[in-house]
Symmetry: C2
Subunit: 352 residues, 2 copies
C-alpha cells in the first residue's frame, strides 16, 4: 500500500534514502551506524560530505561560508542567532508563528524592530512595504511560512547582514544564496529526519557581539570544532547526507525546482478551479512547499476526508491556527501524490 504523505514535517523523504538508512542501522562498514564513534573515520567522512554537499547545492563553496550540523532544532537557532549577532538592535519581518517565536527569543538580547507583520490577517500574506533601520545588526526573515502557506518570492535587498530561517524551503528553489549571511533550517523537511539542524554562516559576521556566549551556543566554537564540539546527532546527519546525495544525483536544486513548480501549479490550479475549495494565502505569496486551503462548505468535510483516506492520503490536516487543509509538497513528494490529491478534489466535486 502506497501512502501519499503530505505531512508538514517531519515528512516524506526519498524511498532510496529509507532503504539505505535502514540498511546502515544493521550494517555500516561492519557495525551499525548507531554504534560507531562520532570520531571514527567513517563518520567524520559522513559529516564532511554532508557539509560540503550543503554548500555545493547552495553555490556557496569557497565564498567564506561554513556549514554546521547541530542538534536542538530550528527553534534553537531563534536563540543562537540573537545570542551571536544581536549587539544593540535587530530587525525582524513577522510572517508567521515561527518568525514570531524568533522575535520573542531575540527580545531578551536587545532591541527588536518588527519592520512589518501580517499578524492582523492571521499571516495570510507577506508584508512588502517596510523600512529596515540601517543601524540594525541584522535583518531576520522566514523564507517560507510552513503553517500559513506563504513564501517570500523576492528576497529583500539589504545592506546589513541577512539572516534567514529557511527550514521549510531550503534546497527547493534556486536563489542567489550569497545574499544571505546566515541560513538555518531544521533538517526535518527537505533535508532529513528530525534531530539535526543545518546552519550555513558567513564567517565574517561572527565575533562582533560583546556578551559572553556559552560554548554550545557559540557558532565560532562549533566552527572551530567542525560541528564536533560534542557528540552530534549521528544518524540524523547521516540521513541528511543521503538526502543531499539523492538531490545531487537527481539534478540538484534546478531540477527539483522544476518538479516543485509543477506540483504547486497543479494543486493551486485545482483549488482555484474547483468551487468547493478556496485557498488561504494571498495568491502572489503562495508557497510552493505548503498549500493551505479549505472547503467553502463544511458539509463536504466528511466525504472529502473519507475520499482522502480511501486514496491513502495522509498528513493533510491544516495546522490548528489556520484550520482546513495543508498539502505539504516537499522535495521528496512525488508529482503523482499531488495528482492523486487533485483527483480526489475533482471526485468530491462530482459526488457533492
Amino acid at each position: 500500500m502506497k501512502i501519499h504523505n503530505f505531512s508538514a514535517g517531519p515528512c516524506i523523504l526519498p524511498q532510496d534514502v529509507f532503504q539505505q538508512a535502514s540498511k546502515a542501522v544493521l550494517d555500516f562498514n561492519g557495525l551499525s551506524i548507531l554504534e560507531i564513534s562520532h570520531r571514527s573515520k567513517d563518520f567524520v567522512a559522513v559529516m564532511e560530505k554532508a557539509q560540503s554537499l550543503a554548500l555545493e547545492h547552495l553555490g556557496l563553496i569557497n565564498k567564506g561560508y561554513k556549514a554546521l550540523f547541530l542538534g536542538g532544532g530550528a527553534s534553537m537557532q531563534f536563540l543562537m542567532t540573537a545570542y551571536n549577532l544581536l549587539e544593540k538592535k535587530a530587525a525582524y519581518l513577522n510572517t508567521g508563528t515561527w518568525s514570531d517565536k524568533a522575535i520573542k527569543e531575540a527580545k531578551a538580547f536587545g532591541e527588536v524592530v518588527e519592520v512589518g507583520s501580517s499578524k492582523e490577517a492571521n499571516y495570510n500574506y507577506i508584508p512588502k512595504d517596510y523600512q529596515i533601520p540601517t543601524d540594525a545588526d541584522y535583518f531576520h526573515i522566514t523564507s517560507n511560512n510552513t503553517i500559513f502557506g506563504t513564501q517570500l518570492k523576492e528576497i529583500p535587498q539589504v545592506n546589513i547582514p541577512l539572516v534567514c530561517d529557511m527550514s521549510s524551503d531550503i534546497f527547493s528553489r534556486q536563489l542567489d544564496f550569497t545574499q544571505f549571511d546566515l541560513i538555518y533550517a531544521g533538517a526535518q523537511k527537505n533535508m532529513g529526519p528530525a534531530g539535526a539542524t543545518l546552519v550555513v554562516v558567513k564567517e565574517d559576521i561572527l565575533g562582533k557581539v560583546s556578551r559572553h556566549i556559552p560554548s554550545m551556543l557559540n557558532y565560532q566554537t562549533q566552527i572551530s570544532k567542525d560541528s564536533m564540539f560534542n557528540t552530534p546527532p549521528v544518524f540524523p546527519i547521516y540521513v541528511s547526507m543521503l538526502t543531499l546525495e539523492w538531490l545531487k544525483s537527481n539534478g540538484g536544486i534546478d531540477a527539483i525546482e522544476n518538479i516543485n513548480n509543477k506540483k504547486a501549479s497543479l494543486i493551486y490550479s485545482e483549488i482555484d478551479r474547483n468551487d468547493l475549495f478556496k485557498g488561504f494565502a494571498a495568491v502572489e505569496d503562495r508557497s510552493n512547499m505548503n498549500a493551505t486551503f479549505s472547503l467553502n462548505n463544511d458539509s463536504h468535510k466528511e466525504l472529502f476526508d473519507n475520499l482522502c483516506k480511501e486514496a491513502n492520503i495522509s498528513g493533510l490536516n491544516g495546522h490548528r491556527s489556520v484550520g482546513g487543509y495543508r498539502a505539504s509538497m516537499y522535495n521528496a513528494l512525488p508529482l503523482e501524490s499531488v495528482e492523486v490529491l487533485v483527483n480526489v478534489m475533482k471526485e468530491l466535486e462530482n459526488r457533492a
Copy 2:
C-alpha cells in the same frame, strides 16, 4: 563476522534494538518512522513510553519527577543546569574533563565553588574529603568519568539540590535515585544512539532563579510541552525507547547490574593478574563501565593491537588525555566480548 564493540559512546546497543530500529525506518505502522509527524498519535505514544520507562527504571514514578527527552547532547545540560538553577553560587566536584566543562559553562552564571578536584593527578581518583558550602544553590557531580575510568561508588549526602551528570552509567547500577534532584544523560551510552538527552528533574527545584531563561533552555517550558516545545529528535528517542524496553524485558537495572559486575571483575582481575598490564584509575574508584589500562611495556603494543584486531575487537583505544586502552562495557556489551578481550590479554602474555 561478530565485532566486539568496546566503543566509549556512541556505543553498542542490543542487537534486537538494531533489528527493530532498522525495520521501523522502512515501516512503522505503514510509514517510515523518519517521515511521521512528531505530533502523530504513534510518536506521542513513543515519547510517553520512553519517559515512563525512564522513570520506572529509576524508581521515580509518582515522586515529583519529570522525564524529558531533549536534543543537543549532555553538553547542553552543562549550560541548562546552570541557566535554570544557579542564582548566586553553585558547588561542583571536578572529577574529569566533563565536570571541568560543566564548571566552565556554569561560571558565566554565578560563583562556582570547586569543592574538590583530582585534576592534578589527571583525574585518576575521586576526591573524597571536601566541604560543600551549605548556601550553594546546588551541588553538581559526574557519577562516572568516561574518559578516566572512575566512578563515584558513594553518592555524597547533601542538604542542597543534587545534580548529576549520569551520561555514562545511567541504568547500569541500582542507586536510591530519589537522592538526586536532577539527573541528565546523553543517550549514546546505555540508552540509545546519539542525538537525544534524557533529563530527569524534580519539579520543585525549578522556578527559583531570577534571570530570563530562553524558551528552549527552560526546563519548565520543556515540561509544560512534554518535551514537544519544538520538534524532538524522533528517531533517537524511538531507539532509546526500544533500549529501555529491552532493559525491562531483561530484568531491569538489578539484572543488568549483576552482569555489569561480572564483566568489570573479569577485566580488572586480568589487568591486575597479568604483569603486562596496569590499571589507570585508583582501585577503589574503578568504573564498571569504562576500564582504563595500559601496557607496562610499549614494545608489546604492536602485537597486542594485532591480536585485538584478529579477535574483531573494536573501539579499545584510550582517550588521548589518558592514552593506553579503554574497554567500555556498557549494558549492551555481552559478557562474551569481555571474555574475548581477556583471552587476548592472556595470549599476549603467552606470546610476549
